[in-house]
């Protein structure tokens, strides 16, 4: 049984493109429905926090943004690894497509975090482990995009960015465990695989908003990867046409 045939079934753009096209609209619908319900619960129904009052509701924006930013980077590193090892071009394009969306969510995580921190902690920013590693995550995304833009040759760009994404992935466990390893101003994890120390309505709203954010990000990434595939193919066609012209310019008898 040829397992590789099934594992790499969607590695061919001819199969991947129709799949991606079919997924985008359903993902958007899921995102909007879950987001609407989650925000209704979070902003409308969930009770105020005992200490923070109503201002804690930024959590329904901040936590989803942070989780998506982290998860998108993990996906970027994953596809980079696949692309480096198995030389599947599409894997690199998926990583490139994840970067801008991940960067935006990382920036949103920092901005909403600052807007939450100012009234609650009395400061917009502090150089504790969680915030610093989150800023590093944003800088890694921006560095990836800068590297991608700076290398003309697509294959070299893919490889360089893939290596960078993998090295930067070392930041992810640091980010995640920062509130446990260090003494941070940022609070510790309230939602863990072992359980959540949160009221049910709050937890439901948070999970809905997180799923909505994930679905929205996924739809956007798929939109972008379709554009990237078309851009790559156009570039390859242009290169071939250029080489064709150059060959035609060489006199036949030489």
């Amino acid at each position: 049984m040829n397992l590789a045939k099934y594992v790499f079934w969607f590695a061919a753009p001819t199969r991947f493109v129709p799949l991606a096209r079919r997924l985008i609209m359903p993902l958007r619908v899921v995102a909007l429905l879950m987001g609407a319900f989650g925000l209704y619960l979070g902003f409308g129904v969930a009770p105020a926090d005992a200490m923070q009052g109503e201002g804690y509701r930024i959590i329904y924006l901040h936590v989803p943004a942070s989780w998506v930013a982290m998860f998108a980077y993990a996906m970027m590193a994953f596809w980079s690894f696949i692309g480096l090892v198995w030389r599947t071009r599409l894997s690199h394009l998926l990583a490139h497509a994840l970067a801008p969306t991940g960067a935006i969510f990382a920036a949103l995580s920092l901005v909403t975090g600052a807007l939450w921190g100012q009234p609650m902690w009395g400061t917009w920013w502090v150089w504790d482990a969680r915030l610093t590693s989150s800023l590093l995550l944003l800088l890694l995304y921006l560095g990836y995009l800068a590297l991608l833009g700076s290398i003309d040759d697509p294959q070299r760009a893919d490889r360089a960015c893939a290596v960078m994404a993998l090295l930067g992935a070392l930041n992810l466990p640091v980010m995640y465990f920062s509130v446990r390893w260090w003494n941070t101003l940022h609070q510790g994890a309230s939602v863990t695989p072992r359980g959540a120390s949160m009221e049910p309505v709050m937890l439901t709203a948070l999970l809905l908003c997180t799923l909505a954010a994930w679905a929205w990000a996924a739809a956007t990434v798929l939109q972008r990867v379709l554009i990237l595939i078309a851009e790559r193919e156009a570039h390859a066609r242009w290169l071939r046409a250029l080489q064709g012209e150059e060959l035609a310019a060489v006199p036949a008898h030489m």
């Binding site: 129904v45 201002g55 924006l61 943004a65 920036a107 909403t112 939450w116 156009a234 066609r237 242009w238």
Partner: protein, 60 residues
Amino acid sequence: MSEFFNPWWHDWASFFQMGRHGLYVWGSVAAVAAALVGEQLALRSRARRLQRMLREDELR
């Protein structure tokens, strides 16, 4: 279950004020909305640019 459909705010004013933190909460909402809409607009203009390029290639 009934708590799921009972809002905590009794009038719109308190909803917009969010305790004393209205500016921060709604500022965050605005930032998220602006970022997500902006990303969509950027993506659309990138797609349009690509379409224009492909059409020019075909015409040549």
